[in-house]
């Protein structure tokens, strides 16, 4: 259950990518989740079996860090503050850690679905 995106459409066209990248960077930064100390993958809605499964498959350290970030952001939200600049998530740290696992699980589910509906011709 990765977030819907037009990223693939844009990435395939270099001229469009060159044009869109600064805008995308500005937009992501303006969204403000990094200032609460969150990564983009923390925002994926976790109320689905796929994401629950993916969270279970996280390595222990990643899972711990994820909970830490979410709790820290929650505190910030309650107290209406932002994190100090040095604790905010830098763009270089905002990398996918959950989405690859989600994609893998979706692939598994699709494979199972395909195999279940397999028609054998001999």
């Amino acid at each position: 259950m990765s977030a819907p995106s037009v990223a693939n459409y844009i990435v395939k066209r270099p001229w469009l990518k060159r044009w869109m990248t600064p805008i995308a960077n500005w937009y992501t930064d303006a969204a403000g989740y990094r200032r609460l100390g969150l990564k983009f993958d923390d925002l994926i809605p976790e109320e689905s079996e796929t994401v629950q499964q993916a969270i279970k498959r996280l390595p222990p350290k990643e899972a711990y860090d994820r909970v830490f970030r979410i709790r820290r952001a929650f505190q910030c939200s309650i107290s209406h503050t932002l994190l100090p600049a040095n604790e905010q998530i830098k763009p270089s740290e905002d990398v996918e850690y959950l989405s690859p696992i989600i994609r893998e699980i979706e692939k598994e589910a699709k494979e199972r679905d395909d195999l279940d509906n397999l028609v054998v011709r001999k």
């Binding site: 279970k56 498959r57 390595p59 598994e108 494979e111 199972r112 195999l115 397999l118 054998v120």
Partner: protein
Amino acid sequence: MLSRSSLSRNAPRALSAGRRAMASAANPTFQYDVSEAAGVKVANREVNGATGTLALVAKAGSRYQPFPGFSDALEKFAFKSTLKRSALRITREVELLGGEISATHSRENVVLRAKFLANDLPYFTELLAEAASQTKFSDHELNEVVATLLKYQQQAVYSSPETVALDAAHGVAFHRGLGAPITPSQTTPYEKYLSGDALAQFAQDAYAKSNVALVSTGPNSSEVSKWVGQFFKDLPAGSSSSQYKVQPSQASKYFGGEQRIPSKNGNAVVIAFPGSSAFGTAGYKAEASVLAALLGGESSIKWTPGFSLLSKATQGFSFLNVSTKNHAYSDAGLFTVTLSGAADQVGAASKNVVDALKKAAAGEVASEDIKKAAALAKFRALESVQTLETGLEATGSGLVHGSKAYQIGEIAQALENVSEEQVKEVAKSFLSGKASLVSVGDIHQLPYAEDLGLSA
């Protein structure tokens, strides 16, 4: 209905047909041809029929595992997701082709087995090669599938008092190596050692070319070497220097001793002595398997206790099972008498076991019975080689442990040469040496070695 006369007319013919089969015991179709393809040892047996089998025997059983639970996990990881396809796809493909894949492990070997229609030989050869060299060993598969299976395995193994007692008897007799439990018990802290990475490193070494042998039977076994040469090229060459590599085999040493394990699942007593190692090794003693057949305990014929000493000695006990077996390994063996059933009867009957053994040692056994025992031992040995389930592993094990593949004619010869004197001697040596005694269950009622007159 068959008339009496037709029966009697056919009877001599049936007999003579049986003779003919006996005479050709060294039938060439039961011999394995041993060759090497792509650096992997291959044993072939040409058998006419529509189906074939292929087994990969790796010297990576619980004896050689670096940490507890590794052989179990390696076995359970067989045919799981590989770099090329997922576990689900493997299962579905095998279903479509109508084959059967399985994996087991023993104290010495991990065995991956495939049975299939003869035409599918290339597919299953490739599958075995893929399972051996390209399994992913991902952590999530370990946590979601393998660890759960391992828990069920533990429950299955440890709910039977006989298996617990046998396992403990090996532990008492050999300490490390052969004495390592075949499946770690539920209270063993094995989880801390298991991880996908560790298993991947173990597999690198376990499925190394020098550590595996392929055994095949089927109508087109001559093609096996060709396909093995093609698909098993990429098997790792082995010998990584990590701490997770297959442990070097140290010569097994017999210790002996006593262990008592309280359990609510039932009662079992195992009385064990140093037995005979596998055929073709230095420690092979044919007389031990004859003595095992002589002591016996389980009848091979219905509705009669049979000729064996123990079934006669325990005839009065109705809630009791007795069996005698020689567990043969590559450099040692364990001769075990297993009793299970009601606690008081197990306790009383274990005294009878020792008495029977004393009788055998004193030579107070009819030579008739010894002849019967030799015939039964011969039948069992030959049958176990001929039966696919046991024969494949025995043959492969012989190859990876550096001795020769099982050859039926020679085993039969060795068993025929056993004399009464030899059987007597081996029984004597059991009584004079150190025994291993394990009691599982209601240990309040089960005997100590002292009570039985054994030194443990």
